[in-house]
């Protein structure tokens, strides 16, 4: 069964159409790139999948159900901006995730935090921007979820952090789960993806596998993206 499925999904904000008649599905075991220029509707799609917005028409299903309390237990979401409570210490943050998510692997999270030399008593407020993003990613990837939705996980971080984030995503790969990474920094994530979705102005332009693009077009996804979205 598809982990994420959109059927004629449309979302309008007032008179502005953010997504128009989107149809696609994502199967478990895939790491999918949701690629598109800024303002193409990537974040709107991810928010819809999290139930933070409601569709105007059509439907979006997570593991066969409309987003709600049940699907949230199966979805692990990394928002575009760091949103873990700043006043918490690392330990309190671990408590928090453990309390609310039955699938949270605390030992895995602790190991990754230790690897970054983050002290249990340290408050999120005292961490640098990059560290905060890493900590939130650790919380998100330490869950054994069915669907990971990562909104711009590598935007605005230094290259070393970028590598760390990508290798954390690969290191937590689960053939039963799907990962969706939204980004416009394609060359950095290309190798990590096996499938890509191009969206532009709220419409799906292309769904294909990375190696299929390279085999058939003889160019990287990054180059194809530049061609498709040439200004």
């Amino acid at each position: 069964m598809a982990v994420l499925e959109c059927k004629h999904l449309t979302k309008q904000y007032g008179h502005v159409t953010a997504l128009e008649n989107l149809n696609f599905s994502i199967e478990p075991g895939h790491i999918v790139g949701l690629l598109g220029p800024n303002g193409s509707g990537k974040t709107t799609l991810i928010k819809l999948a999290n139930g933070l917005l409601t569709p105007t028409s059509g439907e979006l299903l997570v593991c066969g159900a409309a987003p709600g309390r049940e699907t949230r237990a199966a979805v692990s979401y990394l928002p575009e901006r760091t949103s873990i409570p700043l006043w918490m210490t690392t330990t309190q943050l671990l408590d928090f995730y453990q309390d609310f998510y039955a699938d949270f692997r605390r030992d895995a999270a602790e190991e990754m935090l230790q690897h970054l030399n983050i002290r249990p008593k340290q408050r999120v407020k005292q961490m640098s921007k990059g560290t905060r993003e890493k900590v939130q990613l650790i919380m998100v990837m330490s869950r054994a979820a069915k669907l990971y939705l990562l909104d711009e996980p590598i935007g605005g971080v230094d290259p070393a952090t970028r590598d760390y984030i990508l290798s954390t995503i690969i290191g937590n790969y689960d053939p039963e789960a799907a990962v969706v990474i939204s980004t416009h920094l394609i060359s950095d994530v290309e190798k990590v993806l096996d499938e890509v979705l191009f969206i532009n102005q709220g419409r799906l332009v292309l769904q294909s596998s990375v190696d299929q693009i390279r085999e058939e077009q003889g160019v990287s996804v990054d180059e194809l993206f530049r061609e498709v979205f040439k200004c």
């Binding site: 690969i170 290191g171 190798k191 096996d194 190696d211 990287s220 180059e223």
Partner: protein, 130 residues
């Protein structure tokens, strides 16, 4: 092991190529157990499914075999490894000759140039770490 990727070939094909080089140069010795798909994918920074596909390709070539529980191993067939090595070398030479053709060298000139160049360097070019 360092991994490099170019833009114009499929990633799985580049992985196959580089793992072959690893096997030929002893990075992955004959009969040795290979790292798991996940570990190797993490190391190379690639999608585990792509790495899986590369392994499947290597298995089809017979360079790698898998044992149900124990994992994947490099073949012990040294002749096959030797042949792969030769194959890789031929591939490099073909590419080299193509570029020389483009530059307008005739074969005799190329051979002369090669002699001259290898005389200069006292390097035993093992061709490692391409």
């Amino acid at each position: 092991m360092k991994w490099y990727f170019s833009d114009n070939a499929p990633i799985y094909a580049q992985l196959v190529q580089q793992i072959k080089v690893g096997i030929v140069t002893g990075g992955f010795p004959p009969g040795e157990r290979l790292p798991s798909v996940r570990d190797l994918a993490t190391e190379a920074g690639v999608n585990p499914n792509t790495m899986q596909r590369a392994f499947a390709e290597l298995e089809r070539d017979g360079l790698v075999y898998s044992q149900r529980t124990a994992g994947r191993f490099v073949t012990e067939d040294r002749a096959m490894i030797e042949q792969t090595k030769k194959g890789l070398a031929e591939c490099h030479i073909r590419q080299f000759l193509e570029s020389m053709d483009q530059l307008g060298f005739r074969r005799e000139e190329v051979i002369a140039l090669l002699r001259q160049e290898s005389g200069k360097e006292e390097l035993g070019n093992g061709g490692s770490g391409m």
